[in-house]
């Protein structure tokens, strides 16, 4: 079959996306809707005196102005956190309340103070100008490294030292001992800079309340509509789920930033319910920059102990992670279980210890952004491994090979909580070396030299945990919900199939990949399979799309539902074909009696199930109903994996640097990934390409820059925050190693984030390699021409 598993099927959804026929939240309008504009703090930290709304309320077209006072009076809850961390001392993390409109104090530039609701966008924005908030600025703490210092301004009274939690993982004594006997110790200090997600479609929502029925409907651009309904309904709005529908239509990118139940959505729902109306809000780009949850922002130091043969003996890591002003929904998870559990990398390092301090600052809250913790871990590990290779004079490919976990060691339990599923790290590296023509590098470097350029090569061997999550394990680690996924596979009477998923595509191509899985399992042509997602009223409760989980968890739920369909279909066919169900086999979409030419197509079985004229309907007599079946062909399933899955890869980047200007050009990029079995190679390549572009963005271009004194986001627009462009990237060479994951029926591993995770350290390692003659051993990100040029001058001095 050319549309089943493994086929390069063109994406079903692309026709509407590239012809401007997508349906995004901002395309939706509800009759009689009002518009909201938020009044936001221009100060990073200030006491709110009075909020004078008289002028705004009297302004033309204004319906209502609401502030934190009304939120408090209506007893609307704060935004919930989905993952709790237990500190090293046994105490729970410090988790301050995050009211949906500020109460008494603002804590970052962009903190919402009031909302104006008016008949038009312009009227709402004009009136927002007239809300007069009297602020008394108080000292703010902005930089990650400043937060824990003595005397630093305190963001929260209940969090002394600005600490939300102090947390550790691994065996400290064992790690310390490894260092005592070490032949060589490599040390590294690094900053993983803050990033702004920048989904192409800004956040948007419409909340609509029907005063007669009591139904609340929220259209929101969201990666996890069910989770948003659960969290906002149960914890913030006290709106029962059967009277609360969340619809997320087409979503124009998210990268994590659209997982969370944002304050704006809660405000719209609350105000719509309070006023009995519909209210729309779409963020402008400036608003997105300061209110979408940011990513990364770690300051770390690390040490790697090696023996005389270049074997890793121990790793010690100390990280300060910036949470921003409030704890975002999954903020605490990112620098802990999504980060420090990956410090084994692809290696057999026997002793690992990591300490993480999560701090509050007067900045935009930080949460998961493509990779979420795993890019930070991989950057640290692959930087220090490459540095160790340079210091010991061992080839960077060779030092990694000496430390690989071998294929016969799986399942492999690392010293930091995880058990890896499968992999052939050596084979993957070999493929990457061939793809990159590693042996020809010296000649290429000489050639670059003759044209006045410095050429460098850098490695990065990422591994990550995807497929969140085995609920039992996640619960032990602090998850406040299970993380399975749901599916419903529904045959329509004439043989087409509608598939409902609790996950929700924000660009990944579920409509295609899931349809391929169903087409493959049920033998139905792919054009007869429709995937429905993103609406809590028509799909089972499910956990949404993030952490590269949709195929391995959501796709597996679809497989389970297909299994149930086939089991029932076999019985229906057995009845009609007058055979025993045991003698029915399913081949290419047909149920046939083994060894005969008696067969019926699955579409005919579906029709018989919906028009049950010749059908084993129940008679009401238990003695005769042993083989009775209900009409219909519609099955649901939930899938909760036994373990995470562990995509891994080998990335090799080559750069050329102009020594006069410091401009870095990526001239070659080879990426070999093991994402298990592949459903659609073209979609996987697209994910890897996009992921690499984002990883290159962090390495060379992107950085959220706050003025450390004033707390203003200086890189708050696309004039000041550089995103990678197509002309910044070479043709990316990709390859795969396929070791099936044993923990899901498809044998797949997540492919959505590995590119981002793997690319960043490969680029930085390549730059440092190119600058070896200048004595450069480290470079900060983003490695702009100025940063590179200055490092060259300082290195040479």
């Amino acid at each position: 079959m050319t549309t089943g598993i493994g086929a390069r099927v063109l994406r079903k959804e692309d026709r509407r996306f590239i012809t401007g026929n997508g349906n995004y939240v901002d395309d939706i309008n509800v009759n009689g809707q009002y518009y909201a504009a938020f009044v936001r703090s221009p100060h990073p930290h200030a006491e709110i005196g009075s909020v004078d709304i008289a002028g705004a309320k009297a302004s033309d077209g204004v319906i209502e102005v609401l502030t934190g006072a009304e939120v408090a009076a209506d007893e609307i809850g704060g935004l919930p956190v989905g993952w709790g961390i237990t500190q090293t001392n046994g105490e729970p993390m410090v988790e301050p309340a995050w009211p949906i409109l500020a109460q008494g104090r603002v804590r970052f530039v962009g903190d919402a103070v009031a909302v104006v609701i008016a008949k038009s966008i312009d009227a709402a924005r004009d009136a927002a100008e007239m809300v007069n908030v009297s602020y008394t600025p108080i000292p703010a703490v902005i930089a990650t490294e400043d937060a824990p210092k003595d005397g630093a301004p305190q963001v929260w009274d209940e969090a002394p030292g600005n600490t939300s939690f102090d947390w550790e993982i691994g065996d400290k004594a064992a790690a310390d001992q490894a260092f005592e006997g070490a032949h060589h110790v490599t040390k590294l200090e690094l900053v993983n800079q803050r990033l702004v997600p920048n989904a192409m479609e800004p956040r948007a929502a419409i909340a609509e309340f029907n005063s007669v029925s009591g139904d609340l409907t929220l259209h929101a651009t969201a990666q996890a509509p069910h989770a948003i309904r659960l969290l906002l309904g149960a914890f913030v709005l006290q709106q029962p789920e059967h009277k609360f529908r969340v619809i997320s239509p087409d979503v124009g990118g998210g990268f994590g930033s659209k997982i969370y139940p944002y304050a704006e959505y809660a405000v719209l729902c609350w105000a719509a319910r309070r006023m009995g109306c519909a209210i729309k809000w779409t963020a402008d780009r400036s608003e997105s920059f300061i209110t979408d949850a940011h990513g990364r922002d770690h300051v770390s130091e690390a040490e790697l102990a090696l023996d005389a043969d270049g074997k890793f003996l121990g790793l010690r890591v100390n990280t300060v992670a910036n949470m921003g002003a409030y704890l975002s929904a999954f903020g605490p998870l990112v620098p802990t279980f999504l980060y420090a559990t990956l410090f084994a990398g692809q290696y057999t390092t026997p002793a690992i210890y990591a300490h993480v301090k999560a701090v509050f600052t007067n900045t935009t809250p930080v949460d998961a952004y493509r990779g979420a913790g795993r890019p930070e871990a991989t950057f640290l590990l692959e930087r220090i491994v490459e540095k160790a290779a340079k210091e010991t004079g061992i080839d960077p490919a060779d030092i990694r090979r000496r430390n690989f976990i071998q294929p016969d060691q799986f399942p492999y339990a690392t010293p930091v909580a995880l058990t890896y599923d499968s992999g052939e790290y050596g084979a993957t590296l070999d493929k990457a070396l061939a793809l990159a023509d590693y042996t020809g590098f010296a000649a290429r470097r000489d050639q670059s030299k003759t044209s006045g350029k410095l050429r460098g090569i850098g490695f990065s061997l990422p591994i990550e945990a995807t497929g969140a999550a085995p609920s039992a394990i996640a619960g032990q680690l602090g998850a406040r919900a299970g993380l399975y996924e749901s599916a419903e596979v529904r045959f329509n009477p004439t043989g087409s199939v509608t598939v409902f998923s609790g996950s929700h595509s924000h660009g990944q191509g579920h409509a295609t990949t899931f349809a391929q899985v169903v087409s493959d399992q049920l033998g139905v042509p792919i054009e007869n399979v429709e995937v429905v997602q993103g609406d809590t009223s028509n799909s089972q409760f499910g956990m949404g799309t993030y952490g590269s989980r949709s195929l391995s968890v959501g796709g597996s739920a679809i497989v389970r539902a297909c299994d149930k369909i086939l089991a029932k279909g076999r019985k229906i066919a057995a009845h009609i074909l007058e055979a025993s169900a045991d003698d029915i086999e399913f081949v290419d979409g047909n149920f046939q009696v083994k060894g005969t030419d008696k067969a019926m197509n699955i579409a005919e079985v579906a029709f018989a199930a919906y028009v049950p004229h010749n059908y084993p309907l129940p008679t009401g007599d238990p003695a005769q109903d042993e083989n009775a079946l209900e009409p219909g062909l519609n099955e649901q399933a939930f899938f909760d994996p036994l373990n995470f899955n562990f995509p891994n890869g080998a990335y090799i980047c080559e750069v050329e640097i102009d020594p006069d200007t410091g401009v870095v050009q990526i001239v070659d990029f080879s990426a070999v990934d093991d994402v298990g079995n592949i459903i659609n190679p073209m979609i996987v390549e697209g994910q890897v390409h996009g992921g690499i572009a984002q990883g290159v963005g962090q390495a060379l271009y992107e950085g959220a820059v706050y003025d450390k004194e004033t707390g203003q986001l200086l890189s708050g627009s696309m004039m000041d925050y550089t995103l990678p462009r197509a002309d910044n990237l070479p043709m990316i060479k990709t390859g795969t190693t396929e070791t099936p994951c044993p923990f899901n029926p498809l044998g797949v591993k997540g492919c959505g984030e590995i590119g981002t995770i793997g690319a960043t350290p490969a680029v930085i390692n390549a730059i440092i390699d190119a600058l070896g003659d200048y004595g450069v051993t480290d470079i900060s990100m983003p490695a702009t021409p100025e940063v590179v040029w200055r490092a060259m001058q300082e290195g040479r001095a």
């Binding site: 221009p42 100060h43 530039v109 003025d707 200086l714 708050g716």
Partner: protein
């Protein structure tokens, strides 16, 4: 952000001092000034329309004069709110030096901006502030000594 400048104004120091405290002169001199009233405490309340790059806003603010040392120096402390555009705060030390018949006016300003103004306009604010200062003193000199040329002295910003 610190901004410095110096101007040579062809007028006596007492006159310059007097005009620096005259609301009518200031109103005429401040670029984009729509309103400026003297308060009972000697300070001013003002409305100034300003454009920084793509952000334009009407700033409403209060200005107080501190450390008065007539006719040699004072400090202007001001804060303006520009609604959604954010805020601007300034603290400017002005000194007047007598040089013959003329007066050298020096200022050292420390300005802070916040909100959208900072988010979008940070890279442009210094140039804008510099331009506004030049306009102010050019206008001011016309008020103090109509028809005379004001000379901008070459003293570097920091």
């Amino acid at each position: 952000m610190e901004l410095k400048g110096a101007y040579k104004i062809p007028a006596a120091r007492e006159l310059v001092w007097e005009k620096l405290n005259d609301p009518d002169v200031l109103r005429e001199s401040i670029p984009g000034c729509e309103e400026l009233e003297q308060n009972e405490d000697g300070g001013f309340s003002a409305t100034v329309k300003a454009k920084v790059g793509p952000v334009s806003a009407k700033f409403k603010g209060a200005v107080t004069l501190e450390d008065l040392n007539p006719p040699a120096s004072y400090r202007i402390v001001g804060e303006g709110k520009g609604g959604v555009a954010g805020f601007a705060k300034g603290d400017t030390e002005v000194t007047l030096e007598e040089v013959g018949d003329a007066t050298i006016l020096r200022y050292v300003a420390d300005a802070r901006i916040g909100g959208k103004l900072a988010q979008i306009g940070s890279r442009l604010i210094k140039g804008t502030a510099r331009k506004m200062a030049d306009q102010f003193f050019t206008n001011f000199a016309q008020q103090v000594a109509p028809g005379a040329d004001v000379e901008k002295l070459d003293e570097e910003d920091t």
